[in-house]
Each structure stands twice: as structure tokens, then as C-alpha cells.
Symmetry: C2
Subunit: 398 residues, 2 copies
């Protein structure tokens, strides 16, 4: 019999998308669904990009350099330098979205069975990358009671083994919205250095911090060779569809290995690179405006959300996600019920059950991830629906 591989069998479905059939069915029944499940911002891409597409006429649309266009890489170096994050042109590979940067980095540095520590909850696709590359995610739980702060270094030390090859830090965090402080990251750097680990850093939301200042791991001292940075245009410029990201590391061996994988897929998308390059001239006002919009959404959404009896949700400090604890036994059952059996004046809400963002079995069962990527009026409505739904949900626990 034709077989599917172990990896094909073991790869998880996206926890964000797996309830989509229920949402589709609800929509077919005429229910309007507010999507809090997925981080697809409704924020417009910068106006500045459109001319780059209108004027594009290079025929044939050819392969670019496997590393990405040099003009784009130069602009990326400059953009980071403006933010006081410095590295050389040779330290950057343009990738097909941040996800490809992650795959190249893991594939270049991890053998089957190697262990990587990730504070949970974490961006769920890492579980899929771990299956694909064959490494093992060792979760360390960031607790909702602590606002999802970085677990103590003692806790990290406890789970480091000879197989541990690296630690992943998502900052600001998806899905918790936590913003790691410089102190937390400096503490972490001591462990990274001591055990000679890779520090894989996912800073794709760094432009969207509310209040606190983002500190990049690229500026940690003494671990310059250990750091591998994942960046993406998707969220910074609200251009998820162009599929342009970057792998950045001062470790030449990591870049050399990644480049071999990059050559095998030929090049990153040429049109996406054109748009990305045009995006680099986006004025600060754009980011200020977007940041203000997200901040307003966050303030309205979270302040209303935590008024619901039994709901706990630490205030996110960056990105546009929050993890909320609900007074339910199973957030997955609740999420399905919202789509299948409930509506409030013909409307309902789609949320992502949080268990898919944890590696530890049994964690996050009463939590959901919420993306506040809708406009304020819709977020207000969504919270009302959640509140009213929880009043009548048969599986309510308290």
C-alpha cells in the first residue's frame, strides 16, 4: 500500500485554521462571523508601494539572486541600522516569508532528535517546523499568572540537556503579546553563552510595541555568533501576501548552509521583493498611525474583555494577540459551539483554542488566542458576543 511518511502523519494542522469548516458552515447559514482567530491585519499596506507595481515592466520576470536582490538587502541593512541594529550585507538572506527563514535556520543547525527550548505558548507553526526538520521542542511554560513573563533562568537550566541546541524567543510574543525586557534577554544570553546554544529570535512584530521599548537580541553582547534573527515584511508593512522575510545572522556557517537550501528553491518571489523594496521608504507616520490604531484596539478590546466575569487576560505589550483564560472546561468545545450552536442577533465569533500553542499536553485547555486585527467597532461587538455567549454556554465552569 502507498504510504504517507511519518512526518506527513505527524505534522499538526494549523490550530488557527482547523475550525474554518465550522465557520464556513455558519456563514452559509447566514451568521456573520467576527474572526479573532487569525493574525491577518485589515490595516492597509503603505500607499508608497503601489507605484512599484504599476511601473514594473521587467520582462521576463526572471529569477533573482538566491540571496535576494542586492538592492533590497542593502535597504534592509540600512533600515535596521536606523533602528540601531547593525550587521553586514553578507549576514542577510531574503526568504520566502519569515517561515522560510525559520526552516532554513533549523535545517542548518539541528539534527534529528536535537532539542530546542521554546517558552510556551508559542507560535503554533514551530511545531510543524519541528516535525519537518525532526527536532524536538522542549517547552518551558510562561504562566498567565505572571503575565507570560520569561520563566526564570533556574527553570531553563533544569531542562537543558546535552541534546539542547538552542532556544527560540518570540519578541514581542505571538500569541501572548508579551514584550521581553532587555534584562530578561541579558539573563538569557548568559545561558546561551554558557551552554553555547543558538538563540533563534523571531522579532517579526518588533515595530508594534505599546509602551515598552523593543530590545533586539542582535544587540546582546558576547553571543553575536549564536544569534539567528527571523524578520518579515508581513506584519511590519501589512503585506502578508508578498511572502518576503529575512534570515539574519553574523554566523557565516549558518548563512552558508542556508544559502545552499536557498539555491535549491532558486529565489524568493521577485514581485514581492519589488514591493518590499518600495516599502522601505515608508515614512515613520505610517508606523505611528498603525501602532496607534493597534494600541486603541488593544485598549478597547482587552479592557472590555476582562470585564466579563471569569475571564483573565494579561495586557499585551506588543504584536496584536492576546491569550485569554475563559470560564470553560474546553476552549475548543466552546469555539466550536460558538460557530455551530450560537449566535447573538445573527452574529458570532471565531476564536483559536490555545492548546495548539502549547507543547505540554493539557496546557491551555481553557484558553483562547485572540487577534485584535478588526476595527474598534467590530472588536466591541465581538466582546459583547463573547460576554453574552458565556452567559448561556452550557459548558461554563464558574
Amino acid at each position: 500500500m502507498l504510504q504517507i511518511s511519518e512526518k506527513g502523519k505527524n505534522a499538526p494542522s494549523s490550530p488557527i485554521r482547523k475550525l474554518t469548516p465550522y465557520a464556513d458552515a455558519a456563514t452559509k447559514r447566514g451568521i456573520k462571523i467576527y474572526h479573532l482567530n487569525i493574525g491577518q491585519p485589515d490595516i492597509k499596506s503603505p500607499e508608497i508601494i503601489w507605484d512599484s507595481l504599476k511601473n514594473y515592466d521587467i520582462s521576463p520576470i526572471a529569477y533573482t539572486d538566491s540571496k535576494g536582490n542586492i538592492s533590497l538587502r542593502e535597504k534592509i541593512c540600512k533600515r535596521f541600522a536606523n533602528d540601531e541594529i547593525n550587521f553586514n550585507l553578507e549576514d542577510v538572506l531574503i526568504t520566502t516569508g519569515g517561515s522560510e527563514a525559520m526552516m532554513f535556520a533549523f535545517m542548518s543547525t539541528l539534527n534529528a532528535g536535537d532539542e530546542v527550548i521554546i517558552p510556551e505558548p508559542y507560535y503554533a507553526n514551530y511545531t510543524n517546523y519541528a516535525v519537518q526538520v525532526g527536532f524536538k521542542i522542549i517547552p518551558i511554560t510562561a504562566k498567565i499568572e505572571n503575565g507570560f513573563a520569561l520563566p526564570s533562568m533556574e527553570e531553563f537550566e533544569k531542562i537543558i540537556t546535552p541534546k539542547t541546541k538552542g532556544i527560540v524567543i518570540i519578541n514581542p510574543n505571538n500569541p501572548t503579546g508579551y514584550l521581553y525586557t532587555q534584562e530578561e534577554l541579558e539573563q538569557l544570553s548568559v545561558i546561551i553563552k554558557k551552554h553555547d546554544l543558538y538563540l533563534y529570535a523571531d522579532e517579526v512584530y518588533r515595530y508594534y510595541c505599546y509602551g515598552g521599548k523593543h530590545f533586539s537580541v542582535m544587540n546582546l553582547k558576547n553571543i553575536e555568533q549564536n544569534v539567528i534573527l527571523f524578520d518579515s515584511m508581513s506584519k511590519t508593512y501589512s503585506e502578508c501576501g508578498i511572502r518576503i522575510g529575512e534570515l539574519i545572522s553574523r554566523n557565516k556557517n549558518v548563512i552558508a548552509s542556508s544559502l545552499k537550501f536557498a539555491m535549491a528553491r532558486l529565489c524568493p518571489p521577485a514581485l514581492g521583493q519589488v514591493v518590499a523594496e518600495a516599502s522601505m521608504d515608508t515614512k515613520q507616520e505610517y508606523f505611528d498611525g498603525v501602532r496607534q490604531e493597534y494600541m486603541t484596539r488593544r485598549d478597547v478590546f482587552i479592557s472590555e474583555l476582562v470585564k466579563i466575569p471569569g475571564v483573565v487576560c494579561p495586557m499585551p505589550k506588543g504584536a496584536f494577540y492576546a491569550i485569554a483564560k475563559l470560564p470553560v472546561k474546553s476552549s475548543e468545545d466552546f469555539a466550536k459551539w460558538l460557530l455551530e450552536d450560537y449566535n447573538y442577533n445573527g452574529e458570532s465569533v471565531m476564536v483559536a483554542p490555545a492548546s495548539g500553542f502549547y507543547a505540554t499536553e493539557g496546557m491551555g485547555l481553557d484558553e483562547v488566542r485572540l487577534a485584535y486585527v478588526l476595527k474598534v467597532e467590530d472588536l466591541k461587538k465581538a466582546v459583547i458576543i463573547l460576554r453574552e455567549a458565556l452567559k448561556v454556554y452550557p459548558g461554563r465552569t464558574k
Copy 2:
């Protein structure tokens, strides 16, 4: 010490691109280089695509469906149906280039150590995919004396083991230009059925056949579940940079597994999909014109090439590549010498040593892969340079 993974160490560099530093140095010295090494066509993309970019204004440029836009998938089904290749909408996933289709298929069907038979010489990136996924390529040599025809079924049977999970067929072939006949493929299908193997078929050049008619493995009887097809817009529409391809299979388990990997990378490029969809309305005249152009190039190039004493090159019947045997001991040394030490009136030629297209150690050492993607005048000049170079090359064998 920070380590690079075994895969990172073992992944090969592209044999097409590895001599690039020598070519760059030659260009810097003022030598004009004719690039016969790489399959980047100079043929223009269809005119019909430009309006799709000029008129594109969907903001934000958002993620698409992980499967690709349904409108594009529908058009792809229709395009294939026009060519009498029939399958359903659910059998297609849009991928980031043909290369991603290959990775998804291999990752979905092969475990570490599984064996896949590929007639050599073959598209060199398969070696890289094998390293990434962890399967083993078992080569079966297609001989230049036989014009690179499919080896006999007896030879296939000899190397099939319990670990053999599939066979890769590239048709028309890159790098040989060989076009497999319906009869050859039907013979192969008996073996595929008998041993219950996957038939991975790379038909990305199927629009460019000269003389013979292309027969798709999708039309082989009795092995509908075994066939996995890789397609790409890159060569068909001379749009290598849009990075849009397709994974097509009637095997629902293969598609379901691949979709999980597809979700983890979120979506194929949105802008590339827009261009791809516009390309679908390309008129037959475009293909006829391009085919005629390639045929003319082939005829001029190969007929001149085989006049050089000691050069053997079977006439390619499709794609735009040829493998030529040269009167040299090492085609790699010769290729380097062409770039480092030779010029003919200030011009030289870059060729790809063929050994990188073979898995068997020692094969192809006196062969090169040549891509006839230059205009006729340049191809004529390139052949003259090769002829004159071989007259004076110190490593000439006969």
C-alpha cells in the same frame, strides 16, 4: 562549539551556480561571458500579464488560502483539461514554485533512508531535496550513446529494493532534453503498479517539445493513485521570478499531508498568483512563437556544436537543455579554464559541468550541460568560442 547540522554540511551547492565567482571575476576583467550554464530564458513573459499588475490594488496585500486562490486553481484545472489532462479542483495545491511542490511531495511520502530511483543525469536540485528530506537517490544511468532514452525495465527491476518508494521522471528531461515516449512511460507504469511505488513526475517543460508529442503520466492507466505531478509557471510562461508552481495528485492522502506543510508556510505568493492567473489567458500563438524560437535555437546550436571534432550531443526533443560530451578529461577544469584563462576576442562562455547532474561518482566528468536560452546570434558566437577554445585547451584528450 556551535555546530552546523549534517544536512547543512551535506547539502550540495548548485552545480549551475558554483562557478559564478569565476564568471564574475572574468566580467570584472572586461571579458564578455555567454551564459549557457543556467536555464533562465530571455524570452519575454506574455504581454497579457502586465495589466494584472498595473490594476492590482487590493490593500492590504493579504495571505491567500494556503492551497492558493480558488480562482487560480480552477483555471489550472481548465488549462490542463484543454490539454486532455483531467483532475479535480481538490487535487491541486498552488506552491511557491515547482521546487516547493517537490519538497511537499517528498516530505509527505518518504521516511529517512527510503530510496527513490531517478534516471541520471537529472535536475541537480533533487540531490539537495534528498538531503533535506533524508531520502536516498538511487540513480539509473541514461546513456548518451542511447540518446538518454529511458533505461530498460530489467535495469529498473535490478535496483528496486524493499526500501524503494518511488521513481522520478522528468519529461521533457532537464538536463538531457530527452522526451519520453508514451510507450516508455507505459512500461514504467507496470513497474510502478507491480511494486506499488510513487511516480513523481516533473513535467515543467511540457509546453516545449519539438516534434514529438508530450504524454503526461497523469494519463497512465491503473496508477492514478501513484502519480504525483510537479508543474510550474516558470518556464511555460517565462516567469521564473513569480515563484508559482503546482502539486497535483489524485491521491487524497498526499494532498492532505502536503496541505499541512502548506499551512505552516501560510500561503504561496499573492502577487505571483495574480500574474499566474492572468497568464492562463495566454493565446496559443505565444506558445507557438516561443516553441518555434527554441526550436530554431536548438537546431542552430546543436548542429553547429556537433561539428566540433570530438563533441557528442544527442539532439534534444524538448525543454531547452542539452548534455554534450567534450574531448576533455574534466569538464569542470575546462569550465574554469574558460572563465579564468581563455577568451576569444574578449569573449568567453560559461557552461555547467555535468557531474553535478549525476549521482554516480565518476559519471559525466567529460560532459557539460548547456542551456540554449540565448538568442541565435549569441548561440552561434558561443559555439565558435567553444570550438576555438577546444583547439587550444591544454587538457584536450583527443
